[in-house]
């Protein structure tokens, strides 16, 4: 909410009442006070529009090993669901284009194209949109005060998001997401998941904080932060279309999966990187520094990196 409502009331109320009352400086006092109080947040807002390139200095995807749940505070049910996941599910025609949850925009390797839609008469911001990609729906943040829909309303891949400004920070709250994955390798989220997102702009650096809450599969809220850098090259607001095709599985065939206790990849993080099994499985205690004291010193790990060792991926140009 900016100065618009009060300003509008002044403009409309002034002339109409002028014939009966003198609208002098004294009577303007309360209005001026209200205008000042309400106007100040509007001046504090920053422009988020533009193309924000992914620096990819951080690896938030964590999808290079099938059982890598490090850094995800899964509860027991979430862990079992995750271990039952088999990435061959993506070879099923009906699942190839199911996409990822909207918070993948802070996890994936892509940049952000952000734009706003403006109300044509008043000039107020109706919404901000973070552009889509092939496997992620657009992230639309409604700024016009509309309420979240009924809990019975349709859940979509992009969810439903409303936003407001707190100082220079855009705060968004998302509900109505479809069940999916909090990481591409299988850790699940339910359709009761909500997300609070904050956009902090510091000059040419945009840092996004996403806090994901899921009462079904997470033991505590998951926190993710990711930074982007403003760039002059224009990013695409959309990705290529997802086109499903036959990849070896016919519709109606069984869904590829593992018996959770028999997942063949459960030791891979340990053998490849020396990560303890509890950490690879997303035990909540492993997300805190004191867990290091429980780790065996000098855990076995390869002396030299053998996979995913690249020093610097090119910045995203989409």
């Amino acid at each position: 909410m900016g100065p618009e409502p009060v300003h509008g009331r002044l403009v409309m109320a002034g002339p109409a009442k002028a014939g009966r009352h003198r609208f002098g400086p004294a009577k303007a006092g309360p209005y001026v006070l209200m205008a000042m109080l309400i106007a100040s947040p509007a001046f504090a807002q920053v422009d988020l529009s533009g193309s924000w390139g992914a620096t990819n200095n951080e690896d938030l995807a964590g999808d290079s090993v099938p059982v890598d749940y490090t850094g995800i505070p899964l509860n027991a049910e979430g862990r079992i669901r995750a271990l039952s996941y088999n990435e061959s599910q993506y070879s099923m025609i009906e699942r190839q284009c199911q996409g990822l949850p909207v918070f993948y925009f802070v996890q994936g390797p892509f940049g952000l194209k952000i734009w706003s839609d403006t109300e044509p008469v008043k000039g107020t911001t109706i919404s901000y949109t973070v552009g889509a990609w092939e496997n992620r729906a657009p992230f639309v943040i409604w700024m016009d005060g509309r309420p979240h829909p009924s809990k019975y309303a349709e859940h979509t891949r992009g969810g439903f998001t409303t936003g407001h400004w707190e100082g220079n920070t855009l705060v968004a709250y998302t509900t109505h997401m479809k069940a999916g994955f909090i990481r591409k390798v299988g850790p699940p989220i339910s359709d009761e998941t909500t997300m609070t997102t904050r956009f902090y702009r510091h000059g040419d650096v945009l840092t996004v904080l996403a806090i994901v809450e899921d009462p079904i599969y997470l033991a505590e809220p998951q926190i993710m932060t990711r930074s982007f850098q403003l760039q002059t090259a224009d990013l695409s607001p959309v990705g290529p279309p997802c086109v499903s095709a036959y990849q070896g599985r016919m519709p109606g065939e069984s869904v590829p999966h593992f018996i959770p206790e028999q997942n063949p990849f459960v030791e891979e993080m340990t053998t490849r990187y020396g990560v303890p099994r509890d950490a690879a499985l997303g035990m909540p205690e492993t997300l805190y520094p004191e867990y290091r004291k429980k780790m065996k010193p000098g855990a076995a790990r390869p002396a030299v990196c053998t996979i995913n060792c690249v020093a610097a991926p090119p910045p995203s140009n989409r």
Binding site: N57, E58, D59, I211
Partner: protein, 247 residues
């Protein structure tokens, strides 16, 4: 009577609006009022105990990455060459090399932030027992030899009443490691950090630190990472430990 009250309202409103700007106004003749102390004018409260929440890059931060694992770091050829000289079997003569200002906020541990005086914010890290000092006011030339935490100047970025962030710029840090497995930063590295806070859904707060490291010698372009911490009610889990290269 009513008119008088309205005029008072207008005056109070104008005073509320104009006062902050007037307080900082200088150079119009006469003695300018000194700017308020950084502590008194803090738009956000960063003080307290904060614990790192290791939900990102676990395998780079909680265990020693293998030699040659430089994923995500935009090293120059010279930086890669130096990193490749790191020997995991050798005894590290300077175990604090991974705890310098460019890397300390990525180390698993707790930080304790307090006001050292009205214009100096101090950040202690229990991992490596390091202390950072953020001085508000005009930047001064680094004095003395380089240290692990370097020389830091700080300023508030205001965003309306009760909102804002802290910007810290650090130079004069001793050369060290951006990542424990020998990824270097040089003595010419500049670290710019932005400190923001947000509410945590379970109560308490989250501290977000965006770190931008620029190093013309070892980095092709800025290395930008963001780390987050959860606020703790007290220091009961504060656990000072010395620097170690055996990770």
């Amino acid at each position: 009577m009513r008119r008088g009250r309205a005029m008072i309202t207008v005056c109070v409103a104008l005073a509320w609006w104009v006062a902050p700007a007037a307080a900082h106004a200088q150079g119009r003749g006469g003695a300018a009022a000194p700017p308020p102390a950084a502590r008194a004018s803090a738009p956000i409260d960063l003080t307290g105990y904060w614990v790192a929440f290791i939900s990102e890059e676990w395998r780079y931060r909680m265990v020693m990455p293998p030699k040659g694992d430089y994923r995500g770091i935009p090293l120059t050829p010279e930086g890669t060459r130096v990193a490749n000289t790191w020997d995991p079997a050798a005894v590290e003569p300077e175990p604090c090399k991974a705890y310098g200002a460019p890397a300390i906020m990525r180390i698993p541990g707790r930080v304790h932030i307090v006001w050292q005086d009205d214009n100096t914010l101090r950040l202690d890290a229990d991992a490596g027992t390091q202390t950072r000092v953020f001085r508000f006011g005009p930047a001064a030339a680094p004095a003395g030899p380089a240290t692990w935490q370097g020389s830091s100047t700080a300023r508030w970025e205001r965003a309306g009443r009760g909102a804002g962030s802290l910007t810290v710029v650090t130079t004069n840090a001793r050369p060290g490691y951006l990542r424990r497995n020998g990824v270097p930063y040089s003595e010419n590295a500049t670290v710019t950090e932005y400190f923001d806070v947000a509410p945590h859904p379970a109560g308490g707060q989250v501290l977000i630190v965006t770190t931008v490291v620029e190093d013309p010698r070892y980095l092709q372009r800025p290395y930008i990472v963001s780390s987050h911490f959860k606020k703790e009610g007290d220091g009961s889990k504060w656990d000072p430990s010395p620097c170690t290269a055996a990770w």
